[in-house]
């Protein structure tokens, strides 16, 4: 952890492969452990959202198994933020499509993240995909 008392930062670097998803859960758990004032519902919903974005990189990042990522989680007084940079190919997320029908077996990842985050930004800079995900603390579950 690094931080100055108003913002604590947690960083994970490695390959964007399925086995590393557990490391993302662990990183957020570490942040939550060190911030006992964080509401468990906020942590749970934020975790649900950022894992969906992480899944996207793991599933669709190419070349498969060779994409590297850097996850940064920041805890602030009123929000929790994750930044995810990955070295995968250029990617164009299909934003704003809404939740698919009840019988759909796929297509819920990004809509779940969009529903649980207050801000979700995607940019392509040089050879890197960059996601920024923010959840304001203390918001109720949507829906």
């Amino acid at each position: 952890m690094t931080g100055d008392g108003t913002c604590s930062e947690y960083v994970l670097e490695g390959f964007a492969v399925p086995d590393q998803l557990d490391a993302v859960h662990t990183l957020l758990a570490q942040a939550a452990d060190e911030h006992p004032d964080l509401d468990s519902m906020d942590v749970m919903l934020f975790e649900t959202a950022i894992i969906e974005i992480a899944n996207n990189v793991v599933e669709y990042g190419r070349p498969e198994g060779e994409v590297r990522w850097r996850f940064t989680i920041r805890v602030r007084e009123d929000e929790i933020e994750a930044e995810l940079d990955d070295t995968g190919q250029m990617f164009t997320p299909q934003r704003g499509k809404g939740m698919p029908g009840e019988d759909a077996e796929g297509g819920r990842g990004l809509p779940i993240a969009e529903a649980l985050l207050d801000r979700i930004e995607f940019t392509r800079m040089d050879d890197t995909n960059h996601w920024r995900m923010v959840r304001r603390l203390g918001q109720p579950l949507p829906g």
Partner: protein, 110 residues
Amino acid sequence: MSFEEVDQSAYVVLTPEGKFNLVAAPPFKARVDDLVAAGKVRLVVDLHAVDFIDSSGLGVLIGGLKSARQHDGDLRIAASGSQVQAVLKLTNLDRILTPYATIEEACHDW
């Protein structure tokens, strides 16, 4: 993730553990497909030991539900925790995947 399986004759209980995510979903789907193909179309997924589900896990539950119903059976879920229930509600899937409190409640009419 591993999962236990108990055949109660009238129905089969599957009990996944840990994170029901894109790693765990494919083998679970394969097992549900095998069960349905073998005529085991009444399935209960006991979720008490699942602490996290993602959209891949949801997709497998929906796929299993559709497959079981196409064969005049059903897939029901029991004992889901708070994260699972929050995600079901968020995605509106609680309308077709009723979260039963216990296995006994889930299979009350089987």
